[in-house]
Amino acid sequence: MRGIHSSSSLYYSPRQKCFEYVEIRIAKQEDHDDLAEIFNRQSEVLTAQFGEFFIAELIAYQNENQKALVAQVGEKAVGLMSISKDIDYQLLAEGFELDQYDNLLRSEFMEAVKDRKDEIVLAQKYEEIDRKREAQIKVLEEKMLTSHWGQRIALQQHVKARETLAKEKMSEYLTNEELYKTLKREDVEQMIDEWLAGFRLAQPGSIFEQEGVKDPEVNCWVMSERDFFLETLTYFGLPKDYISGNGHWHDWAYNKLLERRQQLIRKQPRAKKQTKRSKKFEEKKEEEVKEPESFDLAPLEKAFTKFCQAGPDVRTSLRNIIQQNLQKFVFIFSNENGELMKGRNIDVVDLGEYMKENQISWNPTNWEHISNILHCFGDLKFNQIVTRVMPQDENKKREEMKELKSKTVKKTSAALNVGKDKNQKLLREPSKDHSAQKDKEGATGPVDTEEAKNDLKPPGSPESKLMESPDARNLLSPDTKFTGSPDTKLMGSPDPAKKETDTLVEKYTALVRANEIVEMFSSYEEILEALDKIRAFDQMMTRLGVITEGAAVLKDEVEELKSKEEVEREDELNRRRRDLPENEWRQWCSELADLNSLPMIPPDVHNAIAINLFCIDEKYESRSIDFLEYAFSLFPERDYIILTQPHIVNESILLQSFVQIPKKKNAIFDDVLYIFHKDALLAPLITVIEIILRVILLTIFS
């Protein structure tokens, strides 16, 4: 194609050539007749509804809020539009989806409203987060409080407050032999109940149900407070089923033996004759060894004392001493090169000894509590190893032990020769606590085969503790058989009376050897885990006010934790704050409390005018939109013009330029709402046209 003919020409027909010019102006009284004719022609309802002179009234009562516009063609009025600024914005906002049109209000105001609603949403969200967090904390508190470890701490605090009273009561019996002989199980039960008066095992609260927590670790208590007390004391050496008589008078025979021996050593020996008298003497001896029938209070007194001693101060001190000497502590679990061996376990009963050997200094009276504390309050995990040593194997075992010991001494240094080898454990002597712990676990008791050679040492020596152990207690049970070889340690005297005593010692010793060695090995991680658990429970119980007295270091720890949490809380609150741009309406909107309504709307933010009445001659209906431009010019501060009409009325040509707004759910507004934005008047200017033709015309004829 080679362009178009050079003699081509362009013609233009303006609208006015075919269509009369419609002028829009403010209505005047003289327009009444022309307008009344149009109104009567289009609808008689309006006249009937508003009266005969309503057009005249509309024209007459114009003010700054209400205007009447007239379309004039030539000298004749052909249309009327009554507009007003009086709009119920709240009602429209409730009935129609006007959010994307700022509810026909100023955008600055709606931004403030939106910010306020965002604040409400965020506040609700943060409130929910805080509520959940508080619930989680509450659940954790309840869980810890109602757990075994929490209740043991609570029990300890309870009985510590009555420690003096309890000890005085026990002392009454222990120091008065006649009174002691009358002591029965019922008396002890009553005594314990008196100590525990006011103590109740805490049951899980309703928070678990409210929050829907299904935690298998949360259980209700079904045991009595007394049973719980006795069960807790088993961690401190009280025999299992103590209240039923188990483990009573376990050291009775031993003490009697010692007493008798002392008497024999003091007295001059006499020639022994096998007379009736001597037979009676023999029978009397047997009776002396036979345990008393009254209730043995000594184990309870010992376990109770230890339990009270292992208080929060001691536990905190233990944690801190290990924390401060962590490098030395790690050395206990290290190899020859000082490297931590994760698989290395040690018998926790001997942990104090290892710590001492590694120059970790602590209060000497507290060493014996380490094992009890870790097990009772730290739920220490351990591997139990049971070694059976039978009397007939004694010689063989003794040789093996001797061999192992000599090898170990050669190999290891002084710092490292402890707790490194399981076999080495057999070379060490168990302590009281160890025995107690083993008894707690239901084992028959720890007896070192090597130590069996040195049994019946004086009271106070490690060996003598063997006899105080619950394992040794069982030796005098009716089922026990007196077998095994005699020990020669105490048999140096040729005294016949002493020989008799030694015969008993022999029987006793044989039984000791016939027991089991039960050891509980724990690793470095397991011990630290137990210490962490002790810390967590002590701190939580201090927070909850269960631990009230003493424990100044613990309280400092808790205070430090609380201050840290406060700082974190403040940081979080600062993070939640939003920096919003300045908005003059923010303060106005601050009282808005819900998401579905608007605050009280100030007149300054109104942004719409309403068409109250509109009528135009059908011939000029296409020029209806000309009213809008004039209406906006009368109220230049408004951006929207709105119109409501019953849904049964047909849309006029004017409404074809409007947008129909959908109703909200459950809206009670019956009419249909149409809105028109001022910028829509510019729509024709941005109509897309055919580009080639446009270019041609502009190029040639502009």
Binding site: G3, S6, S7, L10, Y11, K17, C18, P684, V695
Partner: protein
């Protein structure tokens, strides 16, 4: 826009003008934003016999002729010429 051969339909110039005016009124009523209607009279069509007599009376009554500044430019091949639309996106 195509013109009728009014001789075949026996329509005189005035009636034809009035009919066109009604058509235009309908256009304006339908498209209220339309301000005017253009008509390009091609030179080669005008050179054909009878066409000028047929069209020009109507154009004279309803249309206004737009003067041409550069008639030679009409012969440009618009499809081969590099014509690009300059536009911008309103943000």
């Amino acid at each position: 826009m195509r013109f009728l051969d009014r001789r075949n339909f026996r329509i005189d110039t005035n009636l034809e003008t009035e009919l066109l005016r009604l058509v235009f009124q309908n256009v304006y009523a339908t498209h209220s934003h339309v301000e005017g209607i253009n008509f390009l009279l091609r030179g080669d069509a005008v050179e054909e016999p009878g066409v000028a007599d047929l069209v020009k009376p109507i154009l004279k009554n309803i249309f206004i002729q737009i003067p041409s500044r550069d008639p030679a430019a009409l012969q440009v091949n618009f499809f081969e010429k590099d014509i690009s639309l300059k536009y911008s996106i309103r943000e």
